[in-house]
Symmetry: none
Subunit: 526 residues, 2 copies
């Protein structure tokens, strides 16, 4: 039996941009569209041309790009009441977008029609039908049935009538939307079947599913609808979107391709670009990566428990549901208090010292010594990497820290008058450098002083920025007099890395974590 092709319909650029903190520039949108076309999605919903000039420009620009077999769609609402479709500004903006597909959203839920739109149920059907008919003259029409599942529950006959109005007017695909994200999988399946049954007189019509994650069920709901007959899944990369987000297309694609049987996606292309695509979209949207994201997260194949790591070394499938390479991800062994020897050796072996038990022993001893002082390497893979290099003798010191001094305070009790300054002395090769910088706080001042000195000598450092800074008291028995653990997370274009410093003194701990962060980048780039 041939596998059923499931269309992947990406709305990262439209519904995804409704997410908190998400704002794409025109260039961002074009870049993401090209990446989406590369992995082979069937549709890209590019924006809402009525709403802003940026989206109008997107549709103009995207026509110049070669997207292979990927189709672009413009999104808009049904005509306004008391307008003819041909005169409605929204309709005209969709026509002017000149996309091969248009996605028309209309109201399913009787309550919405009468209470929010404030039109009669019949007028809403006319708005759907006339809009679809007008748009179908120039483009293929996908009809997004907003609130389909809630609307069907409130008034099943009317909900089906709205779909029929769209189908009769020439819409080719009915995308059933769980707009509020509150529906359970079994109900999604049941109502999808009801929609398909209700449109038997339009055998050419296909069905899509559009889920939100408010009940943490968006992936299960999308899969349930596909099993019930939907052949298109709408969603966003990383599940970005309003409230709890849209369904994460990455999990949908991976589950359909790797877990479910009887379906094909992306024309059978490799899923290896998924991890890179995920990170590219986070970067472009300037959002934090979600470490635990299924399939593509940095922690998705990270192992910490000693029992697990012991087993993983014997056979990877024991604690991995798929081979991480299938989605372009990789296994990580975290070094932690719970892990013991097996983890440390596993990580060390990545550095090609499998055959050197003497070196392994030295590394283990050093890790134990440092852990006793409060180090935790699980979030500090870059510091661990440098540690191994130091012990193995492959560490190259790009710069040598000599001393630093910071001063901070306030002049009056007014917070605005707080200041921080740092003075550093380092050696690079045979030359000594002494410099100073101000900052927002002493750690930022130290970072600024180091970077002021080093950036001109090592231009690759300009690609790097600090993205997170955490402090934890190591032994909580003694407050600020205890050891202090500082974790710094840094990032460049293609990786994030963690470094650590531990000291009684938070500034000293930060200094060590900063130095490791920079040294790691220099090792990586040279």
């Amino acid at each position: 039996m041939n596998a059923q092709h499931i269309q992947i319909y990406d709305t990262t650029l439209r519904d995804g941009s409704q997410g908190e903190g998400v704002s794409f520039s025109l260039a961002d949108k074009l870049n993401i569209a090209e990446r989406l076309a590369e992995i082979g999605v069937d549709f890209i919903e590019g924006g809402y041309p009525l709403s802003n000039e940026k989206d109008v420009a997107f549709f103009r620009e995207i026509r110049q790009r070669d997207l292979g077999g990927t189709q672009v769609s413009a999104f808009g609402m049904t005509r306004r009441r008391d307008f003819k479709a041909a005169d409605d500004p929204g309709m005209l903006s969709l026509v002017n977008a000149k996309t091969p597909f248009v996605t028309l959203v209309g109201k399913t839920w009787d309550y919405h029609v009468t209470e929010v739109l404030r039109v009669s149920l019949d007028e809403n059907l006319a708005m759907i039908g006339e809009s679809a008919e007008f748009l179908a003259q120039n483009a293929n029409v996908i009809y997004d049935a907003e609130h389909f599942f809630d609307g069907y529950t409130a008034n099943p006959e009317y909900a089906i009538q709205t779909l029929r109005a769209a189908a009769a007017a020439g819409a080719q695909c009915m995308a059933l939307c769980d707009t509020n994200g509150g529906t359970l999988p079994e109900r999604i399946a049941e109502v999808t079947r009801a929609a398909i049954d209700g449109l038997q007189e339009y055998p050419q019509v296909t069905f899509g599913i559009h889920c939100h994650n408010d009940s943490e069920l968006a992936v299960a709901n999308s899969l349930a609808s596909v099993d019930a007959g939907a052949t298109q899944v709408q969603g966003t990369i990383n599940g970005i979107g309003e409230r709890c987000g849209n369904v994460d297309l990455i999990a949908v694609i991976a589950n359909l391709a790797l877990k479910k049987t009887g379906y094909s996606v992306l024309g059978g292309r490799s899923l290896q670009p998924l991890t890179e695509l995920s990170r590219f979209v986070y970067e472009t949207a300037n959002l934090q990566w979600r470490g635990g994201q299924p399939f593509v997260g940095q922690s998705a194949f990270a192992h910490k428990g000693g029992m697990h790591v012991h087993a993983i070394n014997k056979a990877s499938q024991t604690y991995e549901h798929i081979d991480p390479a299938l989605v372009g991800n990789e296994r990580r062994i975290l070094v932690s208090e719970l892990s013991g020897r097996a983890n440390i050796v596993a990580v060390a072996n990545k550095h090609g010292i499998d055959d050197d038990p003497e070196l392994q022993k030295k590394i283990l001893a050093e890790v134990v010594r440092l852990e006793n002082r409060g180090y935790q390497f699980e979030n500090a893979g870059a510091s661990f990497n440098l540690l191994i290099k130091r012990i193995a003798g492959t560490f190259v010191e790009h710069f040598h820290p000599i001393k630093y001094r910071i001063e901070a305070g306030n002049v009056t009790s007014d917070s605005e008058a707080a200041f921080a300054e740092a003075i550093i002395k380092i050696r690079v090769g045979d030359d000594f450098y002494f410099d100073a910088a101000e900052g927002h706080g002493p750690v930022n001042a130290l970072d600024s002083a180091l970077r002021k000195t080093l950036d001109p000598m090592f231009p690759c450092l300009k690609e790097m920025k600090l993205v997170d800074y955490k402090v934890r008291v190591v032994d909580t028995g003694a407050g600020t007099a205890s050891g202090t653990r500082v974790n710094i997370e840094s990032r460049d274009g293609d990786e994030t890395w963690g470094t650590i410093g531990v000291s009684d003194n938070i500034i000293e701990a930060s200094w060590h974590a900063l130095i490791d962060a920079i040294e790691y980048k220099l090792h990586k780039s040279n």
Copy 2:
């Protein structure tokens, strides 16, 4: 028909601590356990007493606490091969934990038995049976069937035999684990039914489900298993845990209580504490909140799209799947950034200002202003208390901070030579005090200088010490240049209290948190 009670089994303290970056102190574990008991979970899996002293201490301490109807369970593996159960160190550590329940994990998957454990299939059955029998002499035994779903697929007969071995030996509940998180909901349901069918000769045995989120299906899988007959759900708060995490119990609880019919959870208690619990666990674990987390995330009921906001103002159910107040969360309209209104008023009312709407309004406005600057009062009840006193005019300033200056640095690159000094100026009554102190790090130096001056005047301060200190970057987009949030936890003989400071400058933020910590103690003692 009576609703079926579904037991909530929390393993945040054990499986959750396997999550990347998660490390709980003993005090953290005890605090979380008390919160879990307050919301009414049925079971708390407290730790793995064989693995470390902290977990041994946890079980000793938790016996002194009143957890109401919540039961504590200790977790451990089956006896080692070639050991008698009564001589096995793991078995003995479980007995010594003296918990009313014990959770015994054993192997289901034949491949694991022969390739990882390297024992015969029969020996594994003996290990399960003898371990369960030994433990059942002193405790109720829950049997965690590791890799149950993968094991059942590989060898269904053997998988059922492992459960029978546990049941015959007296285990009361079979928790079926999707350890690798790779199973689809329909398969979870099918295999759960097969397990129940296979144990018909043990009618007293109940079934649990333990899911991981590697396919982003953990919630759906847990619900599917419950529909198939499982009456216990194991998971963690916020879904923290190894790789992609365990199932998020918050979503499970909310879906069972608010969405599914025929089930009851938490003895029918209100779900309003869920949002606060979620944030408490994130803060305690020093993890970033997940804004889009279903039900309890800060963005879960945040509305950005103009169309949505317009409709929300007409009728909230148009874009909200549940009333956010049901889970203690709040609607947020992103243009105005208002958050936490009900919580703030509720907390403020605890200070006896229920009858003063004008004062409530002032407090609310100040909290919104501070939250926009990065303050979060969940873990800073003492600072919030002082804030209310300040606005209500009942605050008594015991000392007035005027200025401070710190200096820190190292003399050479030798860490031992790091130093920190602080100079402070404060006013008490009409007198000015100027003093200096050294410390382990600048914050400790500031604390020492303040206490050197204040302790002789206010002897009650000698009862007080700082017990924890945490730093978090508020906006993680810009690393050390972002706002910094400092939380300090202090303690005297009968209470611990949290204070907060926020500033670009970590020293300034620490200074404010320190001052609040001392003022709170002075208010409390005078």
